[in-house]
Structure formats: C-alpha cells, structure tokens
Amino acid sequence: MGKMLLPIVAGAALGLTASVASAATLDEVKERGELVCGVSQGLPGFSNPDAQGAWSGIDVDVCRAIAAAIFGDDSKVSYTPLSAKERFTALQSGEVDLLSRNTTWTMSRDSELGLNFAGVNYYDGQGFMVRKDLGVNSATQLSGAAVCTNTGTTTELNVADYFRAQRMEYEVVAFEKADEVVAAYDAGRCDVYTTDASGLYAQRLKLANPGDHMVLPEIISKEPLGPAVRQGDDQWLDIVKWTLNALINAEEMGITSANVEEMKGSGDPAIARLLGVEGSFGEAIGLDNDWAAKAIAAVGNYSEMFERNVGPNTDLGIQRGLNALWRDGGILYAPPVR
C-alpha cells in the first residue's frame, strides 16, 4: 500500500511547492515571497548560471529589478531555465510570472500566443559567424553554404527569408539546443553559424579557437528582445513595463545605483517623481512609491546593467550601438514618469 501512495504523495509535495493561483499575478508573487522568472538555459551576458548556480546577465537583471521594486530585495527571484520550446507554454500555464529570456517581440507572439511584451531591454539583430579561413567577408558571398541554427526561433525564419530574398542556395541544419548548434559548427558541419548578433559574440567564447572565427558585418533582421508577461493582467504588465522604463529614464537623468539616495534630494521634479519623492506613481501600479528607487539601487540604471553584462569591458565586448540612449545616437527612449 505504502509503495503506491508514496510516489503520489511525494509528487504532490514536490509539485505543490509552486502555489495555487489567484487572479492577480502581483498578489500571487507577494504571497509566494518570490518572483519566478523564466530565463535561458545559459547564454553569457543575458542569463547564465555560474559554477555555484548564481545567475547573471542583462535578462536576469530585469528580473532582479522587478523583484527589488516589489520586495525591496533583488534576491527574491527564482530562475527557471527554459528551452525555446518550453518558454511560451511555461508562461501561458503560469509556471513563470515573467519571461525574460532573450525573446524577440513579434506580432504573432504578441497576438496569437497570448503574450504581452513589456518593452525592449536589448535591440538586437541577426548576424552570421564564419571561419576566417573561408575567405568570406560579406553575407552576400554565402551562396551554397550550410547554416547551423536553433530550431523554432525567429532566427530560423529570418535566415530562410534572407537567402530567399538574395536568391542564394543554402542548407539549414537546425538543432534543438544551442550547445549542439555550437558543437556542430565547431566540428565543421556548417560553414555559417547564425543567431542574434549578441548571441554570436557570446557563443564565440565557447568555441575551441575563438580567434579563428569572425562575425560578418550584415545584420539581417530586427530582433527587439524584451520581457514578456501573460495577457489579461494589466497591472502586472504595467509593473514590468515601468520598471524597465525606470531603468532607462534613470540613465537619462544620471541616477545610478551609487547616487540614488542623494538624488532623492535633487530639486529636479522629474527625478523626484521617478524616485517617489513626489506623486504616487508607485501606488498606481500596486507598489510602494519608491519602487523605482529600489530597483535602481539593486541593479543600477540601464547603462550600468549593459556595461556589467555585455559592454565593451566584458568578455562579450559589445558596443552600445542601437542600445544607446536616443540623445547619444541610439534608439533607447523611455516614456516619461508623470
């Protein structure tokens, strides 16, 4: 008898650690005491676990910022690594509260899949990586090449579109897992490895001889990557959207994790509104009024987040480019808090 009951009870015990839902995501998160964030299975610079299992990256920082905005503590996040296949179901079924997994904002995902994108935390574009000894220096010379990529990503569709538009022949070898794509490319099965440009830089670190490979100049697609939430909970969408906007506005106003406390005393009304000194913007989205200050104190402004994870001083060495503020020649532009 006990033999049969045990697996069932054990299962229930394990399973019920994720709690039973109520209507509003925020209440649920508060009750649980932590935010459940869907991230990638390991992409340096975006969401990557270290040897101790601690997560870091620009996507992870979005999760931390939101946890800080809610709880005032950025460690109250539980990360769920998701494959490309699982990610949307995980969000739809409520397994995660937030999907921050280098996911491209597209119309079909926004509409048909029941997701809402809360903004863009990294403007990316798809690029190609080749071996230097191939003697190719433009994507237009790739006719007849074999291309390694991930299945089920926008990448796979973009590459098909690109080669069709250019009327070039090609062969796609599409793997389920990013590690397998890299392994196959490294083994020489493919001439080209294609994914988001940031991903190319990240994955190049994992190759046997990173110096033997180069990223071609062409960027063939728009890949706005951002956090997504379930449809039907506007408050939760607002929280995610405005936390992200707060980080971008903070950079614009010169607020950093170091000076956030003293900036609260600044006379600038825009800063005062953002940091919750004036107005009650936090309460309007169900949080404390100093929600943004807490988020900024935890992860810094957008610039700090970028420099820490993917910027020129990291292994990835990516320039700000499109991801600079609008006034610095980029397209980062957050609506004002007022």
Binding site: G2, A13, A208
Partner: protein, 450 residues
Amino acid sequence: MADTSMTDLSYVRTEMVPDAPAPRRDTGFVGWLRQNLFSSWANTLLTLLGAWVIWVVVPPLIQFSLIDAVWTGENREACTTIAQGGVLPDGWFGACWPYVGDYFAQFVYGRYPFDARWRVDIVFVLFAIGLVPMLIPSAPFKRENILYMSVIFPVAALLLLTGGHFDYGPFITGQGFWIDYLILTVIVCAIVYAWGRATGTTSLGPVRVTGLSMVAIAVLLFILGIDFGLSHVETDVWGGLLVTLVIAVTGIAASLPLGILLALGRRSNMPIVRAVCVAFIEFWRGVPLITVLFMSSVMLPLFLPEGVTFDKLLRALIGVALFSAAYMAEVVRGGLQAISKGQYEGADAVGLTYWQKTRLIVLPQALTLVIPGIVNTFIGLFKDTTLVLIIGLFDFLGQMQSSFTDPTWASPVQATTAYFFAAVVYWVFCFAMSRYSIFTERRLSTGHKH
C-alpha cells in the same frame, strides 16, 4: 556360404589393443586451435576475418584511451596539439582524462551546491544499504528490506535531496487542515465499513488498512513539512548521475504497482476494465518516449488547472513512470500467464476472494517469475533516461554535453573523451544488471525443474 566360425580365424586378435594417445595435433592447444579455428578452409577464412575485425577495432581504442591518453593537466593546453595552441605534437589523438577528472564531481552531482553534496552521498549510501541485501536471494529479512526500500528510503531521500520543509501553500495550513483531515479519515473509514457490512463481512481488516493508510499519509505530510534545518535545493540544480538514478529508480518504483494493476486489469473478466487497460498499455507502448517527454514538458502544464504547476523534473518523472508502467504491465502479464491454471482454480476452490487470491497466491508466484523481466525493464529505463537531456534536464550524459561549452577544456578530443567515458560508465551499469538478470533467470529455471 562359408560356415567357418570366427574362432577358427587365427588372424583375428583376441585381446584389445591398448589405447593409443590421440594424435598431437588433435589435443592440447594445437588441437583446440585446429578444432575451433582452422577446421576447414571456410573456417580459417572466418578466423582471419575475425582477427582482422579485432585488429581494426581494439588497438585504436587502447591507443586512444590508454597509450596516447593525457593523464595530467590544468587546462586545454595539456590536451591540444601545438597547432591548436597546446603542447602535444601535431597529429596526436588521445583521450583527455584530466578534463574528466576536473568535471567528475559535476558528472555525479550536477550543479548541486557544494556544501550540500554530503546529502547526496548519504542518499547513495542509504540506497546501497537497501539494494544489496535485496539483490542477494539468500539474505535474511526480506520483508523488512522491502519495507525499508519502499517507505523509509524514499522519504529519507526526498528529504535529503530537496531539503524537506515543504511549503504546502494555502491548502495545508495550520490546525484547520488537520481537523478536516481527521473528519475525512473518519468518513473514508465509515464508507469502507459500510461496504463491509453490506457485503456481510464482519472482519475489520479493510477498515484497519484504510485507517493505517490515512495515518501514514498524515505522518508523511507532517514529516515533509518539518524544518530539519537543511537548505532547500531546487531540482533545477540537480544533475549528472544523481538525476539519472532518480529518474530510473523512481520510474521503476512507480511503474511496478501501476504495471501490476494494469496487468491484472488486462486479464480481468470485466470487458470495460480490460478495454481501458489495453488502451492504456497500447497507447504508451505505441509512442516513442521522446514524444512522451515533450508532452510532459510542454503539454502537462496546460492540463492542470490554471496556476498549478509541477516541477520540471517531476513532470519528466510522471511521463517516464506512465511510459514504463505500460511495459511493466506486459512483463507482469507474462508472469500471470505463466502460472498454471490449477493455482487459480485451487484458490477459487478454497473460497478466496479475487483480491485474496491475487495477493496470496497469484502475485507472489508471478512476480518471482518475472524478476528477470523487471530487471530488463529497468536496464531499458536506465538507458532511456538519457532522453531527458533533449527536454533540457541534465542527466549524466546531459551534464557531460553541457561541459563541452566550457572554454577551459575545449579541444577536438573533448567530446570523444567524454563519450568514451560515458559509454564505459553506462556499460558497466547495464552489463552488471544484465548479468544479474541472467543469474536470477538461471536460479529460477533450476528451481522449476525440481
């Protein structure tokens, strides 16, 4: 025609010639060689072919794994040629064992926190303590042993591996729940008692069993909720051999009772029961495990009420258990069919009820008969656990694959070394189990002849 009798013939010997020794070429080593390898032209040709195959396969493997292998080193330099940025001569191709040594702990524990790994070790030891005597047919205390393996060990392992102190959420909180539970227990027992009265049984056995089960569940819930001061370890960081064993052992443990029920159902006289069981069994046997795992990873969350979610590992476990239950059912059915009809009829004649007959007469015999089959199912399941890496769990092989992306040891021989090592490990496990299965099979078949 001739009527001369034999005895008259003077040239016929009257005594036996002493036995001459067999020709040298038919005895000893030479004789063995002649008989087994070179008995005919065709045989000689086959021998040469066999020798050639062995020559092609074995020396390169030894060369790779032992002779040319690198045994010490700090990073990829030790295992790469000069052209690749290392220290070895060009054209070198051998195993890189320091890489395996460096990652060995990860292959066993995954990313389980360092300071909590002693808990995994204890689970391994507890498992061995229960398993070894169970595998030895002559070891005493079989009953206690089974009790240990089916009750004490799973609870202890669950507590140690996850850290216990489960938060049951709003459902089970405070005394309110326990009062409800008490009422529920009384109601369930009353129903069982009423059924007993209605069918004219005065024995309190069933009521007692039900009551004890309810108490057991309560105790279990209580124990799992206790805070033993162990840190909570999410299943996300479990990996390596730990996950392989957890999936294989849980899968087989869960599939055995389910498989028995299904097998009994398939041989039932009740047409609907039979149909349901056949449909269940044939469905799971008809689809590949990988689609089952896909289903459990992407569809199962949608099957549950909104907001209720299962752990990823648990979802895979459910899939694996249902899948192997169908195979187990067929193994058990084989055992049920192998029991002579006389046993069933005898039990009926004594007046046993269906469940008494099944529990006391049929199952003890059938399950003993199918031990080799169960072990073989377990071997299959053990090998099939590798599939979970496709849905993103890190079993032994998956952990190995994920180590390929570490630039510290990246080299052209890395994957080959890892796969070679994995193959050896899996082979040792599976081969040992298959030998055990053959051993029990022999034991059983001799037992039958007498």
